[in-house]
Symmetry: C2
Subunit: 215 residues, 2 copies
DNA sequence: CGGATTACTGAACGATCGTTCACTTAGTAT
DNA sequence: ATACTAAGTGAACGATCGTTCAGTAATCCG
């Protein structure tokens, strides 16, 4: 029986004052739309309930975005651009494969936590429309890059060779991506400790570490 | 440009002939509905396109199920009942905690693979409706049982104690549940080998095993 | 044959969907 | 004041949604 909480447009927050009538800008609308998409699912979120959350009429949304699909497209692009940025950082391009892999995994955790709404939306997309299919293709390209890194680390002798690298990659991202299901900002863990824990489980497993196995 | 493939009701397959007019029974309709829900998403799957996949009229579906929500409810119940069955098997109730945990994890992999459509649907549910909220509650109860098992295994000394057992459990099911995103039956792996691989990565990590660490 | 049983049709319903359009409102810049 | 710009309103649109209903079709049993 909870009524829909209507948001309020944020003040311009320290910048020089914007021109025109005050209200939401594009980014603020997008943030609230993404939250609604996650809460109800993209298809189940009507422009009507979205407008109610914004405290606006439906037609006002079309002043900021040409269509509902464009809201989704921009949100997915945001998440993908952030993830792809990890792969192009210098630490992902030079050094031992094992170190590059660890950097990318840690970077994926951090990007996911820092953009959790947008990445959550990305991970719930399954190719319904052209917009979703394009996003899926970029996600797969990202996965392929990491798989190549796993292969390098295996050839280098850093990663076990008895399991298919594609399976290893998928299990790794299974762990990391599960963050969107349960991680909530402001919890006891900070991001660094969280990334440490995930890397520890991924690399050494959850069996009790034994003394005779130094890192 | 792919046209919608209309299914055909399966013949009674060896059993004694059914009474009444031949056609789909409830289970066959449910199977096809679940496949459609996965392909397009539950909300985006209209009764119209579902009817087209069945090769029936919309109203014919209401002969088998009272509503679209009931299709979802029965599908989710199927997945949950199968998963909960793992927890009540004898091997999950006696023995060392580490062995019980390994049995449950392996059992979860097998149930997931053997009921991949229904479990996929379950894992995509996020609490939109009462039906989905009930399913989520049962899923959380399942997770709590496994977390308790992880705690026992930790107290027993079998599982590392430097990471919160709830995080360990969530990472474990992050790996296992990711199967619905990439595992396809008929691939090179059989179910046993797959479960072995997942247990191996979960327990020992993906670092190259060293000789001085016997199991 | 007739009755029982199971499966299905076609048209229609009220509701809700995403989107459009002509118009208004509230601020800054000159 | 006037112009300009950004933001928002309210009514309406055609389409599609899940569901209902009265009637029909095809099989088995006796």
């Amino acid at each position: 029986m909870s009524s829909i909480p209507a948001a309020v447009p944020a003040p311009p927050s320290g910048d020089e004052p914007r021109r025109g009538r005050p209200g939401y800008d594009q980014r603020q609308v997008l943030d609230i739309a993404v939250a609604a998409f996650i809460e109800h699912g993209y298809d189940a979120t009507s422009m009507g309930v979205l407008a109610a959350r914004l405290g606006l009429s439906k037609s006002a949304i079309y002043h900021h975005f040409p269509s509902k699909g464009d809201l989704l497209r921009l949100a997915l692009d945001e998440a993908l651009t952030a993830l792809e940025g990890v792969l192009t950082a210098p630490e992902a391009l030079q050094g031992r494969a094992a170190d590059r892999l660890a950097f990318v995994l840690r970077g994926a955790v951090i990007v996911l936590v820092n953009n959790i709404s947008y990445v959550t939306l990305l991970l719930r997309v399954h190719g319904n429309t052209d917009v979703e299919r394009d996003a899926l293709a970029r996600r797969r390209a990202f996965d392929r890059s990491v798989t190549a890194l796993v292969v390098e680390a295996r050839d280098e002798g850093s990663v076990r060779s008895d399991i298919d690298p594609r399976i290893v990659t998928r299990l790794l991202f299974g762990m990391i991506n599960s963050l969107v299901e349960w991680y909530r900002p402001g919890g006891p863990e900070n991001t660094e400790k969280l990334a440490d824990d995930i890397l520890a489980v991924a690399l050494d497993g959850l069996r009790t570490p034994t003394a005779d196995r130094a890192g």
